[in-house]
């Protein structure tokens, strides 16, 4: 079974601060996705990274896939209250099936 551990599990910071969330595994993934989930709703895809070492930017969010494709990070610059939510990473196996393994989640709260 492939496992994805996210850290920290909870993070509460002031508006305007920077933060990084980590997603780690001992398994190699063919691709890795980040989702954000708001209360009472299902997760929504933010980004997919495919190549080892790949960096993608989405406004103030920067996503990086580890060189060995076992880990990923999400960095938020100048956090805003609208960034509040549950962030989930999800890895797609190298074995060609269409299943995702989801991480344990990071619950982020941005204090105005």
């Amino acid at each position: 079974t492939q496992l994805l551990e996210q850290s920290p599990q909870f993070l509460s910071i002031q508006e305007g601060e920077n933060l990084t969330v980590y997603c780690n595994s001992s398994s190699v993934f063919s691709s890795l996705q980040w989702y954000r989930q708001e209360p009472g709703e299902g997760p929504v895809l933010l980004v997919t990274v495919v190549t080892g070492g790949e960096v993608k930017k989405l406004k103030r969010l920067t996503f990086q896939f580890g060189d060995a494709r076992k880990d990923s990070s999400l960095h938020i610059t100048a956090a805003q209250p609208g960034d509040t939510g549950l962030y989930l990473c999800a890895g797609k196996s190298n074995f060609g099936n269409e299943k995702l393994t989801f991480g344990t989640g990071t619950r982020l709260t941005i204090i105005p």
Binding site: T1, G40, E41, E98, G103
Partner: protein, 110 residues
Amino acid sequence: DAGITQSPRHKVTETGTPVTLRCHQTENHRYMYWYRQDPGHGLRLIHYSYGVKDTDKGEVSDGYSVSRSKTEDFLLTLESATSSQTSVYFCAGADYDEQYFGPGTRLTVT
């Protein structure tokens, strides 16, 4: 965007009763999934489908069954509900990498 809908949205049931949750999609996704979400566990895959009448087990499939008789509908059945199955259940559809999720069903087993 109401591509994936789930019903009911909330349900309270008693231990030992059968329960069926419905997922309906309008996007013609080939793949459909059922997950449960519990604190500290993220999303865990229960069952998934890769086509009409083609289904397979996920990592937490014990006590659950699924059926997909047509592309649009994916049903999750708890054969005899237990308190450990109290959770929020999400359905998702996909064609390639991105999964599109429904709004969830909150199930409480008393």
